[in-house]
């Protein structure tokens, strides 16, 4: 193991920037450990997908939100990942990415804080998966800047114990779970199709913008989340606010702005016939849930709407064990939407 990690370091230091295809050469001790785990134990962890034609392992960066206000996102992400046989290993001793505050007040700090996590993940030899859209945006921005700006990279690395050389990349949970081979595995293993659910797929701002940096999906009309929802049998609606901003960090300091934006978003989703909103961002989730009442008052219409993380719905369709516990920690009752699942044939009068 020691010799292989030495070799790995040599390789990463000479690796050209932006080189792809490193996945095949990764050290595979995480994978080996998993393979050595008895099958019965793996079953108990909830692996649904056997004989998958992909091997994926990621360094998992939960971020502060997933530890607290969005713990259901953390739970559902890990449950879905283990159901799909995607191995996640949490980045040990990770620190906060700096969020909006760092890049508002100190540009270098907004690069150096994620750089520490990237350094640790690079030592693990795995690409990073960051489910939180804000963490993903910050870490991806830092990654791209560090790969391009050598002077800054050397400067920041001099302060870090584990250096980032540019051998790994950062992906969002949405990006990982909507890869074609993963979606194929999902559609093969659906146990409970989510028919009757009409989600408004809400990407928010940070997942796809700025396109030069994120390089994932379309910046103006992203479709990956819609694809995922179609795969599990839901009917995503077509609406106008899929990439609008929810106000993000103004949730605390300028709640009146957030109430207005949330009102616009939910009202448009309702007008297009959505019966729930699906998101991939903990900030969107908190704002959409917390400001629903204020937004209803502001617009003078009923804007109650269940909000889901997309991983919760994937988990529900796969019947990942324990997924239903995630719904208990929502501020807005999600049962009105859950009750709709599979109800459509009854409305036709075909079933009893």
């Amino acid at each position: 193991m020691t010799s292989s990690s030495g070799e790995w370091r040599k390789r990463t230091q000479s690796a050209p920037l932006f080189e792809k295809g490193l996945e095949t050469k990764r050290p595979s001790h995480w994978e080996e450990a998993w393979i050595q785990t008895p099958l019965s134990l793996r079953e108990r962890v909830g692996v649904r997908v056997k004989n998958k034609d992909y091997r994926m392992n990621y360094a998992y960066f939960p971020g502060c939100s997933l530890e607290s206000t969005a713990k259901e996102f953390h739970n559902s992400t890990t449950l879905v990942a283990s159901a799909l046989g995607i191995e996640l290993a949490e980045i040990p001793d990770w620190n906060c990415c700096g969020a909006t505050s760092a890049h508002n007040l100190d540009h270098e700090l907004s690069i150096s804080l994620p750089a520490r996590n990237l350094g640790i993940a690079e030592r693990m030899g795995m690409d990073v998966i960051a489910p939180c859209a804000a963490c993903y945006n910050r870490m991806r921005s830092a990654e791209v800047e560090l790969k391009v700006n050598r002077a800054l990279r050397d400067d920041i690395n001099s302060k870090l114990e584990k250096k980032f050389t540019g051998a790994i990349t950062v992906k969002s949970a949405l990006e990982v779970f909507t890869q074609p081979e993963v979606l194929a595995a999902v559609s093969e293993h659906i146990r409970k199709p989510l028919t009757g659910l009409k989600p408004a797929c809400y990407y928010g701002c940070l997942l796809v913008r700025p396109p030069k940096v994120m390089g994932f999906d379309d910046a103006e009309d992203p479709k990956s989340l819609d694809e995922a929802m179609k795969t599990v049998g839901a009917e995503p609606i077509d609406w106008y606010f899929k990439i609008e901003c929810c106000g993000a960090s103004f949730g605390i300091s300028k709640s009146e702005i957030v109430a207005k934006l949330v009102g616009d978003i939910i009202s448009n989703a309702k007008a297009h016939g959505a019966n729930c909103i699906v998101t991939a961002c903990p900030l969107c989730m908190t704002n959409l849930e917390m400001r629903q009442a204020a937004a209803s008052k502001l617009r003078g219409e009923d804007l109650s709407m269940p909000i889901f993380f997309f991983t919760e719905l994937l988990g529900l369709a796969l019947e990942a064990p324990g997924i239903k516990k995630c719904f208990a920690s929502h501020l807005i009752d999600v049962n009105p939407a859950l009750d709709l699942i599979g109800k459509e044939p009854v409305a036709d009068g075909a079933a009893v």
Binding site: E67, D93, W94, S101, A102, R209, A248
Partner: protein, 191 residues
């Protein structure tokens, strides 16, 4: 004309003189964006979700920066009401990342002590957040919000929502503290 009323309410017309012709270079030194590329098409303002709340429109921020009206930009509420959603940067036909210009203006505004009075809450929240990271390595919501409330005096905002979140187990009492705090603190230190 209708647009006249817009102009008279904006500080653009009540302007005295440009205060610093080198303002654009100062911005470029921080964020690398050349504000002179902007040809005032207004696409940034059209797409901006927060423009309704700003005193000067996003494209006006760029125009003022071009002409060196430094004080007017630095004391505006607009630079603090930008949510950083990057819509402007994505759509700009001239490739100006206005979101980065806004970041630079905020940093200059803090450094020169020109933050608009009614926008100090935004700054205080960001400062508390960074202090959390500096102390714990991560953000601990309860102590961050408590510190924010202490500094702003807005004790009773969202108390109900806070209690609800706490009851749902979404706010932990004990901060999660990382081992590499020293390393993180070093990142905060500027030589």
């Amino acid at each position: 004309m209708n647009s006249d009323s817009k102009v008279t309410t904006s500080p653009l017309s009540s302007m005295s003189t440009p205060t610093d012709p080198d303002f654009k270079q100062q911005i470029q030194a921080i964020c690398g964006e050349n504000v002179m590329s902007c040809y005032q098409c207004g696409e940034c303002t059209a797409g901006c979700p927060a423009a309704f709340s700003m005193d000067i429109a996003p494209n006006q921020v760029l125009r003022l920066a071009q002409a060196g009206f430094k004080d007017d930009v630095l004391t505006s509420s607009a630079i603090w009401l930008c949510a950083g959603c990057e819509t402007c940067a994505t759509r700009c036909p001239r490739g100006v990342a206005l979101s980065k210009v806004m970041d630079a203006c905020r940093q200059i505004s803090v450094a020169e002590g020109k933050v608009a009075k009614d926008q100090r809450n935004v700054l205080k929240m960001h400062e508390e957040m960074l202090r959390q990271i500096q102390t714990f390595g991560r953000v601990h919501e309860i102590s961050m919000i408590a510190a924010f409330k202490m500094r702003t005096g807005r004790f009773f905002d969202d108390v109900f929502a806070g209690i609800q979140m706490f009851l749902k187990g979404k706010l932990g009492l004990i901060p999660s503290v990382i081992k590499g705090r020293k390393e993180v603190k070093e990142l905060f230190d500027k030589q």
